[in-house]
Symmetry: C2
Subunit: 103 residues, 2 copies
DNA sequence: TGCACAATTCGCCAATTGGCTAACTGGCTC
DNA sequence: GAGCCAGTTAGCCAATTGGCGAATTGTGCA
């Protein structure tokens, strides 16, 4: 594997890794229905706000969401709508997965 | 978030997590061109065989690849071709990502 | 100014990940 | 059977992840 293609795979995995968490998948799903502020998401998810905030900043860093401050609140929304198609593929795959994962 | 939908998000993230690694992305890419045995992949990737073997078993456990023993060798191939579309979306996103990820 | 609320950042910690080497299993050939 | 090659499993370890509470920053309002 060449150094350049290795960098390519690393860049892609960075984006995929951002989606590889139940809470962040939920956030993406929720934001696909419209923008939400951090407090709203926190209430829906059921973990502490600092945790949600970090999930959001991670999604922002890879370009999946963007934020906008309005007063004391920060609203987040999706930047890449193609994520929906992406998730559809996962859903179809989901029905056929089996076994345990151990790594 | 309800318990059932939380289980749904967890199941999906399990599949996405399987793809969230440069080496495993490379494997999927390589297998999209045809089946390969573990030794072939090991030479292409440049890490030790046990490591490659574990990446492969993880991909198998979530249903992305399947294996077939032929003599002393084990050949792997893709089970879900829709992965390609999945990755195309990532590639387009890739060009627009910025910033650092720290979580 | 002072208080309350929204959000982020900082330390801390337990659990997971991903690499390695060593050991083990199974097939093929001499 | 002995030796070799392909592959997996096991044990170890460093680095990362993801949660929490505490502390900090910033905005709006009385």
């Amino acid at each position: 594997m060449s150094a350049t293609s290795q960098a390519q795979y690393k860049a892609r995995s960075r984006i995929i890794k951002a989606l590889a968490h139940p809470t962040r998948l939920f956030i993406v799903d929720e934001l696909s229905r419209g923008e939400r502020c951090v407090r709203e998401l926190t209430e829906l998810i059921g973990v502490e706000m600092p945790t949600v905030s970090r999930h959001l900043s991670l999604l922002r860093n890879v370009g999946i969401v963007e934020d906008e401050k309005r007063g004391a609140q920060v609203f987040y929304r999706l930047r890449r709508l193609c994520i929906r198609k992406f998730l559809e593929c996962i859903e179809t795959m989901q029905t056929n997965s089996q076994g345990t994962d151990s790594l």
